[in-house]
Amino acid sequence: MRSVSESGDKLTRAYRDLSREEPTPALDRAILAASQRALRRPSLARRWAAPVSIAAMLVLAIGVTLEMQHEQPGIETSAPQGGAIPPRAVEPQPAPLPQAQAPVTPEPQPQPKLKREPVAPPPATAPRAKREAIAPPREAIAPAREASPRIEAAPERIAPATPPMQAPAAAAGAAAAPAPAAAPAPAAADMQAPAASNVARPQALRAAPAVAKELRAQSEEERELERIATLRAQGRDTEADKALQEFRRAHPDYRIPDTMWERVKPR
């Protein structure tokens, strides 16, 4: 780089001698005024952070209290089901685990708690199935040579995190028999990468916190773009336009890959 600069000294001087255009004073005033206005009104996130936090805490506290009141009598008696359930499964908190076990233990289980199974689907499987349904054709679309650098770079960063992911997955398989949704078709494997990276994230955090943080932020942005693409696909263009504008405001330095842009761009 230095050699490039040095060899271009005359060029640099000539370039400096070119006219030095500046923004108009009116433009200066408009931008500076906007910068001051922005300081006077707190950002939307700051304005709502405290009320939303308090509301979330209240909902959580009330929910936990109600749950405890409902489950106090006789909860321990329903836990041991043939002794095949690992200790984690009998804890009162996780509803998904007993549900995942249902296909493996077909013998009748008269415990009253089983009645809740149909109304307590595992929360992780539903969004995943939805994501598979709207799976972007990332592999099918040949990425432009340079236009979508983040998409090209993502597999490299995710790849090291993939092996550790199998340990929790195997552990889950040992604890509960594989639920139908846990055995996806090979074609859907790539769409499970974000979920897998979530599982592997603690190890990545330990290994390289900065990389993990960037990965998390990136996946957050990708999720938001997926949501906008879904809105667009559903024909909800007004909402998609608004969401895209908000996305641009929140992430001005995020480069939307060309393939994703095709899915989210204003129509």
Binding site: M1, V4, S5, S7, G8, K10, L11, T12, A14, Y15, D17, L18, R20, E21, E22, P23, T24, L27, D28, A30, I31, L32, A34, S35, Q36, A38, L39, S43, A45, R46, R145, E146, A147, P149, R150, A210, R248, R249, A250, H251, P252, D253, Y254, R255, I256, D258, W261, K265, P266
Partner: protein, 180 residues
């Protein structure tokens, strides 16, 4: 004197003067980068203002992991790409240089040095305008933003070798144009 990164953090914390300092320092280079990339004054003003508005709105998310200029020019690059996309244009890499227009002819002997200097500048301006987009952008980011090849790569989403190559191509053509 506070660095750009410290000034931006100070602005995010509520110091309006810090933004004024930052703006005064970067407005000219950023404006020229935008102007010479899109070429028309009206578009340049709109984009320039939009870039600063985005920087203002994103102040709370600013983290000084990279140089402030890299962050600012990344925003500018993204805004320009959005601008082109909205007009149905695509940024196409032309690193191979085959379709690039020929730079202006080298200078011929002129009797008056002053006239020659002016013509040199005219040739330079014409050669910059004739550069392929990605090369012009790399050159402007280097000259106006003071970005290194690695920082250009980061701001434009290219890999570092491509950024170096674009910068080298651009400078060679411009040097030819001014007869260096």
């Amino acid at each position: 004197m506070a660095s750009d990164e410290e000034l931006m953090l100070a602005y995010a914390a509520g110091d309006g003067r810090a933004f004024e300092t930052l703006y005064a320092k970067h407005k000219g280079p950023l404006y020229r980068y935008v102007l010479r990339t899109v070429k028309t004054g009206g578009e340049a003003e709109e984009l320039f203002q939009d870039v600063w508005m985005r920087a203002i709105e994103a102040r709370g998310r600013y983290a000084p992991q990279a140089k402030f200029t890299t962050w600012l020019y990344t925003i500018a690059h993204n805004r320009i790409v959005d601008h082109w996309r909205a007009r149905g244009l695509t940024v196409v890499s032309t690193d191979d240089d085959e379709d690039a227009p020929e730079p202006a002819a080298p200078p011929s002997a002129e009797p008056h040095l002053q006239l020659e200097a002016r013509r040199t500048l005219e040739r330079l301006a014409a050669a910059i305008a004739a550069l392929p987009l990605v090369q012009r952008e790399a050159f402007l980011l280097h000259q106006e933003g003071g970005l290194t090849a690695a920082e250009i790569a980061k701001a434009t989403g290219a890999d570092e070798e491509a950024a170096k190559s674009r910068l080298r191509y651009a400078m060679n053509k411009l040097k030819d144009a001014i007869g260096e």
